[in-house]
């Protein structure tokens, strides 16, 4: 049997595009709840590190209040950590960061709940707090003993560096980044009969919410159902951080027997949840006269905040990406997990990769400057080539880096842009332009092996329509439409025949988080697997009906054909049902071939790599350090794209988010460790005006050599790091202004840029 006129490869709109545009798409806060539903608010710590005592009587007495819950009210475990314990739902005795949740209150309406929460009397006995990475490094405040730091070694880096013709030392820091999903953290918990709990959660990981809520409530996982139809942006910020709202709502719902909704106001969302890890990266590099790196010693210190959360995996990915697209013959790379009194920093698109790759691009930029060579030439000299191994020993097969960089440099006129910038810089004293072309090579797979699995549940109804369930969550990336396209391609039916169901833990169990760019790769394969099982069953039924061979049946345009005979897909479904053939199938997928030994830091943790490159021009103003992007040209790999429009959206959006991280998004705190940037008034993510007037993205569509679903490539995270070209372009412009680009950090705010520039006059 085979399928014709596949839906995959086309660009139908997002499955909810119309609902988005009409406002009919429901997010947590839009779901109608029972009339007696309660609304919750939380009380948070004002101190970064302190023992505390609470008097919650004024909260209980506040108008409209129905219930209050603190640590002592938790029937099960007071723990919502994903991997290693350390993240209580409600703080007990000691708070470890300003913003830590201490209690929650449920009231008749949201304002009453929030006003009640303000009335708590909390007294603190302050303890010394570690508020900066420098302080943590000085005091050796780490999450784990130094001997257990993740360290990756190849060859004798020290010796190679000593022997190299040139040596250079440098460092770069990058700040925290707030996810700023437009829909804040939110959940609604609805008690069911027999002590069961139904939770609507804005999460990237419903299965973990199910597990944690069950633990917190002291019930079994099969007593909890978590459903997520869509989330208003996640970016990693709702992988582990969604648990607080869901579990606090569940505790209050269980306590009151009434539905409880908890939606964090933006300022609390900022204060309570973790951000992208700030990093301080240092390198010592040895290289030859062409800039070819011979050895590199690198340390990547990460500000993890008060607990582990996902920090170890994030640091691992940072270390594994500290070579970006380059070949280091000898390397010694160490990750340092600093423990500080801040919200536990967490997953954020790229998951440590961006921080590792920033260090690599910084090193290349410095080397090119040191040698007085064109930075692109130095990058090319270092590109990892076919058959070479990454520092952790994975063989890289035919990486398209040189091809992509070459095509981009040619098509977007790298040389002409460089020349134009030089001319401009000669003619202008107080404005300077910079140009950079940087590559991206990003490893695809969870580095924690067991997470690389997915399930799906497909059901065909008697009218020939299909209900599609899988474990992935829709957060805007277009996962649902892509998987619908995959399923439609198997059945040869029109797309509207497939209905994506809300992600629900009762339909597909134990799903991994929709993270690590893996959503379509894993869930798409599982759905395809389920669809193929069903197609085989239907083909067999039709073959019996027609008395022909099953493998001669063609599925196309909603019809099954065998020679001159034809029936609609709906008829076939009905016939199968009458023939007592199951029209429900569970699909499963696990990524093959991957393995990694964490102890030796050796293995092939990634099923494949996704590559791309960006060419960016920028202009800086020497009076104020203000800058803007003039152009961005991007060429990025999608494999055989399942939906080019969705992939384009991921690439453009990833670039924008990366540029925000590198240019204007700055998290600030006061001397007590509390945030002073608490919302969009003070924390500035890019607006339309920050995007370059010339912004052109092209897809590199060569089919994936790895056997992925329809030979596509993951596209969620890798494009974020294309924005490194913008940061390197700034460094280029700073150099043209006789500035000290070696001291450029991220975010490169106007102030940061001005600090690298010489005084005028």
């Amino acid at each position: 049997m085979k399928t014709k006129n596949a839906a995959a490869g086309k660009s139908p709109p997002h499955d909810s595009a119309v609902l988005h545009a009409t406002g009919e798409a429901r997010y947590i806060d839009d779901i109608p709840l029972p009339a007696n539903a309660l609304h919750a608010a939380i009380g948070i710590s004002q101190c970064a590190h302190a023992e505390f005592k609470t008097n919650l009587a004024p909260v209980r007495a506040s108008p409209g209040v129905v219930a209050v819950a603190a640590a002592a009210d938790i029937p099960g475990k007071n723990e919502i950590a994903p991997v290693r314990p350390g993240d209580p739902l409600f703080a007990e005795k000691t708070v470890h960061y300003a913003g830590q949740c201490i209690f929650a209150v449920a009231a008749a309406d949201e304002k009453s709940a929030r006003r009640a929460a303000q009335k708590a009397k909390i007294t603190y006995r302050e303890k010394p707090a570690v508020l900066t990475m420098e302080d943590a490094l000085r005091k050796k405040s780490f999450l784990i003993p130094e001997k257990d730091f993740f360290r990756l070694r190849r060859g004798d880096a020290k010796k190679e560096i000593t022997r190299a013709p040139h040596r250079l030392r440098g460092e770069v820091r990058c700040g925290a980044q707030e996810h700023f999903y437009l829909e804040g953290q939110a959940a609604a918990a609805l008690p069911q009969e027999g002590g069961d709990m139904l939770i609507y959660s804005s999460t990237q990981h419903p299965a973990e919410i199910q597990k944690l809520a069950a633990d917190v409530l002291g019930i079994a996982m099969h007593n909890v159902v978590v459903q997520t139809r869509r989330i208003g942006g996640g970016f990693g910020g709702k992988e582990t951080q969604a648990a607080l709202a869901a579990c606090a709502a569940a505790v209050l719902a269980q306590k009151t027997g009434r539905a409880v909704k908890l939606r964090l106001p933006r300022a609390e969302d900022f204060a309570v949840t973790g951000k992208r890890h700030p990093f301080l990266g240092k390198y010592l590099a040895g290289f030859d006269k062409n800039g070819k790196i011979l050895g590199a010693q690198i340390t990547l210190a990460a500000d993890c905040g008060m607990s582990a959360d996902l920090s170890h995996a994030i640091i691992r990915r940072a270390v594994l990406h500290a070579h970006n697209a380059y070949y280091y013959p000898a390397a010694d790379i160490t990750g340092i997990p600093c423990k500080t009194n801040k919200a536990s920093n967490t997953a954020f698109r790229g998951f440590g990769g961006p921080q590792g790759m920033l260090l690599a691009e910084k090193m290349i930029t410095d080397i090119a400057r040191f040698l007085g060579r064109d930075a692109l030439a130095v990058r090319r000299a270092n590109f990892i080539a076919d058959g070479q191994r990454t520092p952790y020993g994975q063989i890289v097969h035919k990486p398209p880096l040189a091809d992509i960089a070459g095509a981009l440099a040619r098509n977007a006129s790298y040389a002409a842009k460089k020349k134009a910038a030089e001319k401009f810089n000669k003619e202008n004293k107080t404005r300077k332009r910079g140009v950079a072309l940087t590559p991206v090579k990003f490893g695809i797979s969870f580095t924690t092996k067991f997470l690389n699995q997915a399930g799906a549940l497909l059901q065909i109804y008697r009218d020939g329509t299909v209900a599609l369930n899988h474990g992935g969550t829709e957060m805007g990336q277009g996962l649902f439409i892509k998987i619908a396209q995959i399923a439609a391609s198997v059945f040869g039916v029109p797309l509207d025949c497939i209905r994506c169901q809300p992600t629900n833990t009762a339909r597909v169990p134990n799903a991994s988080a929709t993270a690590a760019s893996s959503g379509a790769d894993l869930n798409g394969m599982a759905a395809q697997n389920a669809a193929m099982q069903l197609r085989a069953r239907i083909a067999a039924t039709a073959a019996r009906h027609w008395k022909c061979a099953a493998d001669t049946i063609v599925f196309s345009e909603g019809t099954l054909r065998c020679g001159k005979r034809a029936m609609s897909f709906a008829q076939a479904a009905d016939i199968a049902h009458r023939a007592r053939v199951s029209l429900s199938a569970a699909g499963f997928y696990r990524t093959p071939k991957i393995h990694f030994d964490e102890k030796t830091a050796r293995g092939s943790p990634f099923y494949y790599f996704a590559c791309g490159a960006a060419l960016v021009c920028c202009e800086i103003n020497l009076h104020t350090g203000e800058h803007r992007l003039l152009s961005a040209d991007i060429l990025h790999e999608t494999g055989s794209s399942i939906n080019p429009a969705m992939d384009l959206g991921q690439i453009e959006g990833g670039f924008a988010q990366g540029w925000g991280w590198l240019s204007c998004e700055e998290i600030c705190r006061n001397e007590k460790g509390a945030l002073t940037t608490t919302g969009p008034a003070t924390y500035k993510i890019p607006t339309a005006g920050d995007m370059p007037p010339h912004f052109r993205v092209r897809l590199w569509k060569k089919p994936n050599a790895a056997k992925t679903v329809l030979r596509s490539k993951a596209v969620g995270e890798p494009p974020l790091m294309l924005a490194l070209a913008g940061w390197c372009a700034l460094a280029d412009a700073i150099h043209s202004a006789n500035g000290d680009a070696k001291n450029l950090n991220a975010p490169a705010t106007p102030e940061q840029v001005l600090s690298t520039l010489p005084e005028l006059n």
Binding site: P13, A17, L19, H20, A21, T22, G23, E24, A25, D29, D30, P32, R114, H179, F180, Y181, L182, E183, R230, G232, F235, P265, R266, A267, T430, G476, G478, H623, T624, E626, A645, L648, G649, E652, G653, A656, Q657, C664, C668, T676, T677, G679, P680, A681, T682, K684, I685, P686, T687, A688, G689, D690, M691, F695, T749, P750, E751, L754, L760, N761
Partner: protein, 462 residues
């Protein structure tokens, strides 16, 4: 009591809500959940809805606003249009169609707000030519944050919509005129006298656009059961251009101030394009910007160097006060109990005056200034500096003149050296603080460099 129309409803609604009830809360409580809360501070645009209102000239006009910080009384005599009101007979509005076609939504949470900004953009004349298309579409969505798309497809949707127009969507000018006139008859706007009486006796805060005052309500949950609402008084929103300058009613919003002053003061118009967002500029008033006495308000420094005066009124009595003398200390003004700003008089710059404003912020669009400098210098016949007025925001606890620097410029040749020397005097004029917008060192250095920028931009001109 606010009397207003909602979407395609055939009868006006009458709601008597407290001043601290927001339009967004009202909509969502009624089950109209298409309009979203992203920040409750007027910064992200997810809550954007549109109103049609009669402007100061009595003409119907459409504009987007942040429903999350708009108090309910604001709806008086307006036609409120939300994302739910766009579909007609089950068919998508052209603004919605354009977004779907351009793949303008991903997670979709910000999308209703963008759709409403596109709708307002289309209704306000949109872009006329391809050359200005990018600039106009970018400006139209500068008050809406999207975290997913990178904006390119939304700009494309806006450009496509500018070409197709809104079509016969039931929200035409004639329909708006009819409805708004009806509302004005049902609930006549207060006169200046009514307002003055209320301000003197009410013992409640005066609320104009509320774009700053409402943050105390939505962020700190401070109650504000009553307010004297100046926003709906058309008489107080008049802008009269006369020989001596502009007489601007305190309730005039920034969009209309920009339209009035922009052609004569292009530097002001440039600054204004980065002042708040379209939603904020349509809502916030010149009077509110001054009375609020924020040290980082972008209006006052510009008006101070132009020599603006205020007409302050209490009951039937008025007095005039130079704007510069209005600010007494941090958030402290010369307003007496029951007194309010009625008019802002902005004199026309003298012949030969060179006027520039430089706004410096972390982000280009919709960001509060780290610092802002306004320069108004007059050149003598001999090419010297005949007069220098310079004022800054973000450098002190009030919008403040740079008197030492001005003195160093007075009578000196108009050269880079003169300005560089004057910039050194800034140490005496200001001791800025450091905060999340900028460190004090940055404020100092950038301030001095703005003198050089001014010199560079103006020195060569004869």
């Amino acid at each position: 009591m606010a009397v207003f129309y909602l979407n395609r409803e055939s009868a006006p609604r009458r709601e008597s809500a407290a001043a601290d009830a927001t339009v967004l809360e009202y909509l969502r409580a009624a089950g109209w959940t298409g309009t979203k809360e992203g920040c409750a501070s007027g910064d992200c645009g997810a809550c954007t809805a549109v109103v049609a209102e009669l402007n100061a000239e009595g003409k119907p006009a459409f504009r987007g606003f942040n429903s999350c910080i708009a108090p309910m009384p604001f709806l008086a005599r307006k036609w409120l249009i939300t994302v739910e009101g766009l579909k007609q007979n089950g068919r998508l509005h052209p603004a919605q169609k354009a977004m779907v076609k351009a793949h303008g939504s991903q997670c979709g949470f910000c999308t209703p707000g963008f759709v409403m900004s596109l709708f307002a953009f289309c209704k306000s004349g949109a872009a006329q030519s391809e050359e200005t298309m990018r600039e106009k579409t970018t400006a139209a969505i500068s008050g809406n944050l999207c975290r997913c798309t990178g904006y390119r497809p939304i700009l494309a949707a806006a450009a496509a919509l500018a070409k197709t127009g809104c079509g016969n969507d039931g929200y035409g000018i004639a329909a708006a005129r009819k409805k708004l006139r009806e509302l004005h008859l049902l609930s006549p706007p207060p006169s200046a006298n009514d307002f003055s009486r209320a301000a003197a006796t009410a013992k409640a805060p005066i609320l104009a656009g509320g774009t700053d005052s409402m943050l105390a309500v939505t962020q700190q949950l401070k109650p504000m059961p009553r307010a004297v609402f100046i926003g709906g008084a058309n008489e107080l929103a008049q802008i009269k251009k006369q020989k001596d300058g502009w007489h601007i009613g305190a309730a005039a919003n920034w969009e209309s101030v920009g339209r009035a002053l922009g052609s004569a003061l292009p530097s002001f118009a440039e600054m204004l394009a980065r002042f708040g967002s379209p939603q904020i500029r349509g809502q916030a008033t010149i009077g509110g910007n001054i009375a609020n006495a924020s040290p980082v308000a972008d209006g006052p420094p510009a008006f101070i160097v132009l020599g603006a005066e205020l007409v302050l009124r209490r009951g039937a009595k008025s007095r005039r006060l130079p704007l510069e003398k209005f600010f007494l200390g941090y958030k402290k003004t010369a307003l007496r109990q029951g007194e309010w700003i009625e008019t802002v008089f902005v004199p026309k710059p003298a012949r030969g005056a060179v006027f520039r404003i430089y706004k410096v912020s972390k982000r280009r669009e919709d960001d509060i200034s780290a610092l802002l400098f306004a320069f108004c210098l007059r050149r003598s016949a001999e090419g010297k500096i005949a007069e220098a007025k310079i004022a800054a925001g973000g450098m002190a606890e009030i919008p403040k003149r740079a008197k030492f620097a001005e003195k160093a410029l007075q009578g000196k040749p108009w050269t880079m050296q003169t300005f560089a020397r004057a910039a050194r005097e800034l140490e005496k004029d200001f001791s800025p603080i450091g905060d999340m917008r900028a460190s004090k060192e940055y404020r100092r250095r950038a301030a001095a460099n703005l003198f050089l920028r001014f010199a560079e931009e103006t020195a060569r001109k004869k």
